[in-house]
């Protein structure tokens, strides 16, 4: 907020010429203050009015120079966020439990298939009508966002919701099984929130092959949503790979000069991990068949029952985890990320950073930790060391020395995701909640940073940091939003970044899964706070402060309406999460506790060196697993 004042530094020279400065006196100001106070007081008593008030206030806050084409969407987004906070207020959520909406219909399928079917539909539109293509794409994405909002009305608790379990290939035990819990809920919403914004922002710079672009983005969104919602490992794998193709195309077609090399690198790295995971998935499915004596199954909750001895489990865990850590990415398999980010077009970078990387962290949380707790415990302490040294510290140090701004932000992602992974390795409720929150936070603040950098890239077509300097003067509004994104990335309290980091650090210190090193790792993660400030402030200083050194930068236009509309929701989300994190935390709390309980039940239930030591067998279903689909036989524990 402080830095909003930047926007009035000098960029309004043009504006003040035709806008007479309003000579406000004291009475007018008092009146405004009174009206504002009355609105706020009224809002606290009539909670239903809060979104409306928020929308009106935000619309009024937008500097007058902007027309209603900017104000209306921003106000709508503000109202939406306010409604989101009010409706999900922990106290209010308790009251709403009585009116738990019926979880019927195929809501999740609608969410997944709207973009994918829409992508196919796009193919039938004429290639020349750019307006129709763009409008349809954006409409479908907004529709997906609207579809995902009812998910918020369910009180998530510890269980899965909107369960949908249909036999797909019964002979191989493959079901189309989707459901949502308090963890995937936020990633689904993040996807539905970020994708339309990134898409809208891309409609300026992307001017060739519009149809292909729209197709790729819609397919990408559907794939990501499917990955987060799938609970059948086979379906999960299909979506996981489906994401790869549009991203490959996005970088390869609309990317920078070295795009082919980068896109191949991206593809090979991710593919390498994925194939091993496929092997492990097949092994699990058939092991299940052997243990149950029936058909194979790829259902997550059924496979969770498999008790696998160390010799097999380590390999399976390694295959899954390798796929995930490449996607995250963690040291030393992270180098595809800077290359992919630098060459990707802006929207590609945004989606890659904000959502695609979360597939890896989510995968580790759901599958590696859910299916192989013993192996996770055996290796967790060591991997946490990698997350701290190779992620948080090494990533930050590398980021500091980059001269390409996009590379720098990419390395900062490595550092930020180090926090997420550290939280997951620590396996305490606070750390995992912090980790999940940090996934969302990183999506918002780093997504915003990439979007912001795209703005200047469209004007200057260079990524070299020394090409900029003193930009605060020609582009004050841009500088303001960049500083907001920076403080969020640095983790200043009241922005979202702080909450995640704080919870991960305290949760890590309280962990008993990190061997001797929980204290050292918590302190190491705290060091990242210093390093984050060093590299991000370096960027801000070099880009925005000091005199304007380059002639080309002197007359750069400030944000245009399209850019402003796509950036403002990110800025608002930063403060909404920073101030009201409990809205998110209360929904994910139950799911995270379930994950930790499932994990600990396996670890503590096993004698000896914490591995189940015997022939493969099935344990009972976990208490919170959703009911089986009608077409599925029930297999009791240990039954032949």
């Amino acid at each position: 907020m402080a830095s909003q004042a930047h926007s009035h530094e000098s960029g309004e020279v043009a504006a003040t010429k035709h806008d007479e400065p309003l000579m406000f006196g004291a009475p007018q100001l008092v009146a405004i203050a009174l009206i504002g106070a009355a609105a706020l007081v009224g809002a606290t008593f009539i909670s239903g009015a809060v979104p409306v008030v928020a929308a009106v206030v935000v619309a009024a806050l937008v500097p007058k120079r902007q027309g209603w084409n900017v104000r209306a969407p921003i106000a709508a987004m503000a109202g939406l966020l306010a409604a989101f906070v009010v409706r999900n207020w922990p106290a209010a959520a308790g009251a709403a439990e009585a009116v738990q909406p019926a979880e019927t219909g195929h809501l999740l399928s609608w969410i997944i298939w709207t973009p994918i079917v829409g992508a196919i539909g796009i193919l039938f539109l004429p290639r020349q009508s750019h307006g129709a293509l763009r409008g349809t794409t954006l409409g479908l994405m907004v529709f997906t966002l609207v579809l995902s909002l009812p998910l918020l009305r369910a009180t998530m608790g510890r269980t899965f919701h909107f369960n949908e379990d249909v036999a797909w290939l019964p002979r191989f035990g493959i079901h189309y099984h989707v459901a949502v819990d308090g963890i995937s809920l936020w990633l689904v919403l993040l996807t539905a929130f970020v994708t339309p914004l990134a898409t809208y922002a891309s409609f300026g710079p992307i001017q060739k092959r519009i149809k292909d672009w729209c197709f790729a983005l819609l397919l990408l969104e559907g794939g990501m949503l499917g990955t987060f919602l799938a609970l059948d490992l086979f379906v999960f794998y299909v979506f996981w790979e489906l994401v790869l193709i549009p991203m490959y195309v996005i970088i390869g077609v609309w990317g920078g000069t070295n795009r082919i090399r980068s896109t191949i690198k991206f593809f090979l790295y991710t593919m390498f991990g994925s194939v091993l995971m496929l092997g492990a998935i097949l092994y699990l499915g058939y092991t299940y068949a052997r243990a149950s004596g029936g058909a194979p199954s790829f259902d997550y909750f059924e496979l969770q029952r498999l008790m696998i001895p160390r010799s097999a489990q380590l390999w399976l865990w390694a295959a899954f985890t390798l796929a995930f850590v490449i996607k995250v990415p963690m040291f030393p398999v992270h180098t595809w990320l800077p290359d992919a980010h630098t060459e990707a077009p802006t929207a590609g970078s945004v989606i890659l950073a904000a959502i695609l990387l979360k597939l890896g962290t989510y995968g580790y949380l759901r599958y590696s930790m859910g299916l192989f707790p013993e192996a996770c415990t055996e290796w967790g302490a060591n991997l946490a060391g990698v997350a701290v040294l190779g992620g948080i510290i090494y990533g930050a140090l590398c980021a500091w020395k980059q001269e390409d701004v996009k590379r720098l932000i990419a390395y900062s992602s490595v550092a930020h995701l180090g926090y997420v992974m550290l939280g997951l390795f620590a396996v305490t409720p606070a750390a995992i909640e912090g980790g999940v929150l940090q996934m969302v936070n990183h999506g918002i603040s780093t997504g915003m940073l990439f979007l912001l950098f795209g703005v200047i890239y469209d004007r200057r077509h260079t990524r070299h940091i020394d090409e900029f300097g003193g930009l605060a003067k020609p582009m004050p509004m841009y500088a303001t939003l960049f500083v907001v994104a920076t403080v969020a990335s640095v983790g200043l309290p009241t922005t979202n970044g702080f909450i995640g980091e704080f919870m991960v650090i305290t949760g890590t210190f309280a962990s008993n899964k990190l061997g001797h090193f929980n204290g050292v790792q918590a302190a190491g993660a705290a060091i990242g706070v210093i390093l984050g400030a060093i590299y991000m402030l370096m960027v801000v200083q070099k880009m925005f402060f000091g005199p304007v050194t380059k002639k080309e930068n002197r007359r750069l236009p400030d944000l245009n309406p399209r850019e402003l509309v796509s950036l403002a929701p990110f800025a608002m989300a930063i403060f909404v999460i920073g101030l009201f994190p409990n809205v998110l935390l209360s929904q994910m709390h139950g799911a995270v506790e379930r994950v930790v309980d499932d994990f600990d039940a396996r670890i503590e239930g096993n004698p000896g060196p914490r591995y189940y030591d015997g022939p493969i067998k099935l344990a009972p279903r976990r208490p919170e697993a959703p009911e089986l689909g009608a077409s599925r036989p029930v297999v009791a524990a240990g039954e032949k």
């Binding site: 907020m1 402080a2 004042a5 009035h8 530094e9 000098s10 309003l22 000579m23 100001l29 806050l61 500097p63 007058k64 922990p90 052997r290 004596g293 040291f331 030393p332 992270h334 090494y394 140090l397 590398c398 500091w400 020395k401 980059q402 305490t428 409720p429 606070a430 003193g470 003067k473 403080v487 200043l492 309290p493 702080f498 704080f502 650090i505 305290t506 949760g507 309280a510 001797h516 204290g519 050292v520 706070v529 210093i530 400030a533 402030l537 402060f545 000091g546 994190p581 409990n582 935390l585 239930g605 000896g608 189940y612 030591d613 015997g614 022939p615 493969i616 067998k617 039954e639 032949k640």
Partner: protein, 862 residues
């Protein structure tokens, strides 16, 4: 009045906090459009209303305190207001979740601090409305300044450590933005960044303190932490002590036998959790309050506008560290070692900064180092357990240092009439004799100088004297000493020699303080004016005809009206020939002088709130007593807690402070008035190397550049290079090279020559044939429940099986059969080895032993 707001839902706090925030938002967003008059009104109204509400709250608090005293209850009263629950985290040794609320509270300590921040803040806002009048960024400036007041109030009023951290970082951000306010100058932006990063190093300490505290005490709010503080020493009276291991890193003997084993010392180096928390907090405080080793940012921070230096970098923000130590006193007293370190850091900083201030020539730099030095005195005070005395120095320092900075601003404002380069306008060598023209500024500056150098009966004398006295006699001891397991292990005791040494260092620093402040005062206000030739009116009239009219206009300008419009034309038309006669320096307008007068009055008189010397009225001591009562048992005096001895020592020890004042002032008088600065020049010429070293601030910045910063920098360079060459170069390239190489090799076989293909086919067929000719005995074991296990042999073409369930060499059936499975019954804990023989169609037999174990019964259900 009291019943309007109940103490546990004191919503007036929302007004105190909300007004500055509102001001920041309004000025930040609409500032340019509103015009300067409305911006000024908004900014002043925001802080003014906040101050008025603070006074109301303070009076209410006093009434509640009196009620509690009358009812002889705990007089540590809190007015608190909870906004909403912010988040929750793990705590209490992993046993529970700790909710963290957005909750603010006013108690005796935060109440005083709140009054100082809003009161002094209001005066400085008023001053700035005139000082910054001509600046392009007028609205932006007041938006930041209001935001700063908001953040500072959050810091003070926050009821838990994370919320304090919000304010802590918030003031840091505002400081960053305001130091770099004139961001077009790269040096200003760099100074802002330096301040932010130095503070971040401190924040690292605060984060560490938070996770330690929440884990050991199970809370992060003040009363919760105070209740659980004993857990920082021993979780229960009989159990093991709370120790934090420093070396080897980790806990226990972490390096397994092997090449790293030698790193394990015989006994690991551990400290108590209380010491660890205290040290982490101390690191945080050294960052925010500019103490050794992190003080280097504060002098550079003077790049900001002068009102900012007065408000943020003298009166309020930098004292946050002292406030934090007072607030967390219940942790610090558990670790006498950390207390001693706090005092040593404070005393060392006081002396070091004072030596640097002696030779500086920039008026703001002198005051900056003086601030660092005075903060050192405060840390010395709280470090020896004199929390009230240390905090009282915060209180008096806020007045006299704000007055000094604002006075300096007034002087710079006057100098800017003709001297436009910042460093020259602030150079005391260009001043002198200003008392003739800047009468109000001179008298207020003199009053504040009298206070800081400890002229008896002024505020600075009383507050500093108490610190010196307590430094000599106090002896903090561990209040848990001898309880529980601590009886066996003992606790740290501060060596008796420390007290006198601290006293001596502090007196030396006080002598230097008197000297450099008088030097500053004499050079600025006495002697001849050295800035430019002050001409006769007749000459001036001629000049005006000659077209130097704009010069007069500039005489009224704020120092920084340089055109931000276009970087091309900065400063050029400001070059002036200062040898030409010009108007004399002018006094500032009333908006600037009124705050000076008020602050000067407080600087002289505020000491009587807590004069010490066992006088009957000790308002501050009495007021703060409930806050520090719980820790008072830990603060003993030396000589086996002989209070009579301590009382006898009070008057003799006061001589040190008075003597320091007398000596410092006399030497300065002799040097700069009696001898007109000749001795100073002589000394500088006699010891040029030493003089240069001190002038360069002991080259500490350079030392840091060469060591810590260079180390991190090269580490980063190495990381980046490693990433590029090793990780990306070798790991990635090597993999692709292996793939490419195997492709090349395999390609050699795809040469299109038919008999090579035929040969390959023959080899392949032979291998396949061999595979089928040899039987493969393999089996898997499946737990079928009810202690039954099924061993299944792997199928194969034409296979027949023979089982030997107990491996006694006698198969169950003599002949090979088609039965590929074997059922076993095994009780828990039993195991069995099964022998499997497989015969294939060629009659070859393969054998394998399979070990089947039933794990013992498990306690927990699955």
């Amino acid at each position: 009045m009291l019943s309007l707001f109940p103490p546990n839902d004191y919503a007036l706090i929302a007004v105190i906090l909300g007004m500055p925030l509102l001001g920041a938002i309004v000025n930040g967003i609409w500032g340019k459009r509103l015009g300067n008059a409305a911006v000024r009104f908004m900014a002043l109204a925001a802080v003014g209303v906040s101050f008025a509400a603070s006074v109301v709250a303070f009076v209410a608090l006093a009434a509640h305190v009196r009620q509690a005293e009358d009812a002889s209850m705990d007089a540590h009263v809190k007015l608190s207001w909870t906004a909403w629950e912010w988040m929750h985290t793990a705590g209490g040794q992993g046993t529970g979740t700790v909710p963290i609320e957005i909750k603010f509270s006013i108690d005796q300590l935060s109440g005083v601090m709140m009054l100082v921040v809003t009161g002094v803040g209001f005066l400085i806002h008023l001053y700035a409305t005139s000082y910054m009048e001509k600046d392009k960024g007028f609205a932006r400036f007041f938006a930041y300044l209001n935001l700063f007041i908001f953040a500072m109030l959050v810091l003070i009023l926050g009821d838990n450590l994370p919320l304090l951290f919000v304010g802590w970082e918030g003031v840091g951000l505002c400081s960053y933005l305001l130091i770099g306010f004139w961001y077009e100058n790269m040096a200003n932006a760099a100074a802002g960044k330096k301040a932010f990063i130095a503070n971040r190093v401190g924040d690292f300490g605060l984060l560490c303190a938070m996770f330690l505290l929440v884990n050991y005490t199970g809370a992060l709010d003040w009363s919760g932490m105070a209740n659980g503080a004993h857990n920082l020493l021993h979780p229960n009276m009989t159990g093991p002590l709370s120790r934090v291991q420093l070396w080897p890193l980790g806990s226990g003997n972490v390096y397994p036998p092997g090449p790293l084993h030698f790193l394990n010392p015989k006994t690991p180096l551990t400290i108590s959790a209380a010491t660890a928390v205290s040290l982490a907090l101390l690191l945080a405080c050294t960052g925010k309050s500019a103490q050794i080793p992190l003080y280097v940012w504060l002098p550079d921070a003077m790049a900001g506008p002068t009102p900012v230096s007065a408000l943020i970098h003298a009166a309020t923000m930098v004292t946050a560290g002292v406030y934090l130590v007072c607030r967390m006193s219940f942790v610090f007293v558990l670790s006498p070692f950390a207390m001693m370190l706090v005092a040593i850091v404070g005393a060392a900083t006081a002396l070091l900064a004072a030596t640097i201030a002696v030779v500086q020539n920039d008026i703001k730099k002198v005051l900056a180092y003086s601030t660092v030095s005075q903060l050192g005195f405060m840390f010395l005070g709280v470090g020896v357990g004199a929390f009230t005395a240390g905090f009282f120095h915060v209180f008096t320092h806020a007045f006299f240092k704000a007055c000094l900075f604002l006075g300096a601003g007034s002087v710079i404002h006057a100098m800017h009439a003709r001297v436009h380069a910042d460093d020259e306008a602030q150079d005391i060598r260009n001043m002198g004799g200003l008392r003739k023209w800047l009468r109000l500024t001179h008298w207020t500056f003199a009053a504040a100088t009298a206070a800081i150098i400890g002229l008896p009966l002024t505020s600075g004398f009383f507050s500093k004297d108490e610190i010196l006295y307590r430094a000599f006699v106090d002896n903090p001891v561990n209040p848990e000493d001898g309880k529980g397991f601590l009886r066996k292990f003992g606790t740290f005791h501060i060596p008796p020699v420390v007290g006198p040494i601290l006293y001596g260092v502090a007196v030396a620093a006080a002598v230097l303080t008197a000297f450099y402040m008088c030097r500053l005062y004499f050079l600025t206000f006495w002697g001849e004016f050295r800035g430019w030739t002050v001409g006769r009116p007749s000459l001036l009239a001629k000049q005006e005809l000659a077209g130097t009219k704009h010069e007069r206009d500039h005489a009224l300008d704020a120092p920084h009206d340089t055109e931000l419009e276009d970087a091309d034309e900065t400063h050029e038309h400001h070059e002036e020939d200062l040898s030409q006669p010009g108007y004399p320096p002018h006094e500032s307008p009333w908006q600037m002088t009124v705050p000076l007068i008020v602050l000067a009055a407080f600087a002289v008189l505020a000491g009587w709130l807590n004069p010490g010397f066992h006088l009957p009225w000790q308002a501050m001591d009495h007021w703060l007593h409930p806050v520090f009562a719980p820790v008072s048992s830990a603060i003993q005096v030396r000589h086996a807690n002989d209070h009579e001895w301590a009382e006898r020592m009070e008057w003799p020890l006061a001589l040190g402070g008075i003597g320091a004042f007398a000596v410092g002032t006399a030497v300065a008088w002799w040097m700069y008035i009696a001898k007109r600065g000749e001795p100073a020049k002589a000394i500088a010429q006699a010891q040029p190397a030493l003089y240069q070293l001190v002038l360069d601030k002991w080259r500490v910045d350079e030392l840091y550049d060469a060591t810590a910063i260079a180390a991190v920098d090269s580490l980063a360079e190495t990381s980046a290079a490693f990433d590029k060459s090793i990780v990306d170069g070798i790991i990635a390239r090597l993999t692709s090279l292996v793939v490419a190489a195997s492709g090349t090799i395999l390609r050699a076989f795809q040469n299109g020559v038919v008999h090579v293909y035929a040969a390959t086919m023959v080899v392949g067929l032979a291998a396949t044939g061999w595979f089928f000719a040899v039987p493969h005995a393999n089996a898997t074991v499946v737990d079928a429940g009810n202690d039954d296990y099924v061993v299944t042999a792997a199928p194969g073409v034409g296979y027949a099986y023979r089982w030997d369930a107990n491996s006694d060499g006698k198969p169950e059936k003599a002949d090979f059969g088609a039965d590929s499975t074997l059922k076993l019954h095994l009780e828990p804990g039993k195991s069995q080895t099964v022998r499997l023989e497989v015969k294939n169609a060629f009659g070859f037999v393969g054998k394998k032993s399979i070990f089947v174990a039933h794990p013992p019964a498990q306690t927990s259900s699955l």
